[in-house]
Symmetry: C2
Subunit: 284 residues, 2 copies
């Protein structure tokens, strides 16, 4: 496995792969790998001849009061795990190479970036789409894999790739969970043991709605179920709801009734310090 | 020469060229070719193995009160001229293929798009950068040529390509002029004979400043020269100044004094109906 930080050398390497007719899969990450990341990498090895993992804590997707400075990092541990997963190249550029002096170009997906995490994190998704656009242009992958935990991010990137006619297939990968159901996230590293216990309430609240839907033949109204879930979360020590919503799986439009392919998606804050997200698929 | 409107077939053709190791130059146009366009195409044949001309009247770069509907079109004449110039492919997509249903992705260059034409035409440059981004992703050229008449457009696109790490070299081509100095433009087709005569005042006003600068060893102040030029234009029958400015050639920052590599750039309206732009290089 190669680890490369310069754009120029990475372009040369990727160019030589392309010349040999090798297909390329990109797994964009911010590092601090958990089993969710590794599942994406392993899926990459099944989809393409070469797997590139980009490891870049992208400053433009963090708000001014967010955790950019403290975002957990472990480049050596990450390299060992990626190698084990069958990755061919870790691309870990410097911020000043990705965002050159006087950088002023922004890629934004206007509608899908609104609502849900877009409301809590203004500018977040245009930071994501801008950096993914840069990565696509540098690495020219045939496909790219994103986790479904960040459902809105996945759909925003699909939309961007489609609208801008990027020749890159965008693939979503199902959420990987801890044994008790907590969605894996690099940010789980922030949780102390009490918080770790509280954090599970988000998944429980989503599951509660799924169970209610499965118990009935009706197309249930979303509002009362959301209210019940929010109460459940806000009762948990240190937890507060950022948002909880039932949306269409493709368009992210809020659903008044649970009908068709829906996602129940939510974000919570723990002790006003740690923000976690999760979602589950509900069909009715 | 091939004429192709579908994205899929164009991708296949361009892919086969790339596989054969052929380099590709793109000349993006809105059609209605004049000698300025043809000079870009001929330059393209010197720079690359294959020259693609895109012919697409891009709706998103026109404002609501602009001339999208009336923009002059002559696809058959264009094809004959492009063939003569040595073009290999005219890519002429439909609007509904370039902008798919629910298209919502915008690429914008924030600072350079302000001022000059950006003030008169809000949203114009994000329309340009968005469509050029789509063209780059579909056609994957090694280089792309743009005329210097649209100086701000050229610099905005250079900035976009640099910031987003597109592997495309952006090349400016000097302005091609009629015998009397009028900058060639498809919009010159709107001019009646009286207006055609009036239109020349823009070039004369720019030249006047250039001459004043060349006559002196000093770094002249811009403001009095601009005022004099504006008076000259506004005195001409039917003509009014949209803007006239002295800017740094690279950054488009307004220059208080004419010093270094500057451009004097302007836009005029003729009979409130036809908008023409021009610029000229001034060194001191």
């Amino acid at each position: 496995m190669i680890i490369e930080s310069t754009i120029q050398k990475t372009r040369e390497l990727v160019g030589s792969w392309r010349k040999d007719g090798q297909s390329i899969c990109l797994v964009p990450t911010m590092g601090y790998f958990h089993d969710g990341h590794l599942a994406l990498m392993q899926e990459g090895t099944r989809l393409a001849d070469k797997v590139i993992v980009s490891l870049f804590v992208n400053p433009t997707q963090f708000g001014p009061n967010e955790d950019l400075e403290n975002y957990p990092r472990d480049p050596e541990g990450d390299a060992a795990k990626a190698k084990q997963a069958g990755v061919d190249l870790i691309f870990c550029p410097n911020v000043s190479d990705m965002y050159l002096d006087e950088d002023q170009t922004v890629v934004s997906v206007e509608e899908l970036s609104k609502g849900m995490c877009g409301d809590d994190r203004p500018g977040h998704f245009s930071g994501v789409t801008t950096v993914v656009c840069k990565l696509f242009n540098i690495l020219q992958p045939d496909c790219a894999i994103f986790g479904e935990k960040d459902l809105q991010q996945l759909l925003v990137i699909k939309q961007m790739a489609r609208d801008l006619h990027f020749p890159v297939r965008i693939i979503g990968h199902e959420i990987v969970r801890e044994h008790d159901g907590l969605a894996m996230s690099s940010r789980n590293a922030y949780l102390n043991s009490q918080e770790r216990e509280s954090a599970l309430v988000l998944f429980s609240a989503l599951q509660m709605i799924k169970k209610r839907v499965e118990e009935t033949q009706e197309h249930l109204k979303s509002a009362p179920l959301i209210e019940e879930s929010c109460r459940m979360i806000n009762k948990q020590t240190g937890c507060s709801v950022d948002y909880l919503t039932v949306v269409d799986e493709e368009t992210l439009q809020a659903k008044e009734r649970i009908k068709g392919n829906c996602r129940v998606a939510g974000a919570i804050k723990i002790n006003d310090r740690i923000r976690l997200i999760d979602n589950i698929s509900v069909r009715s």
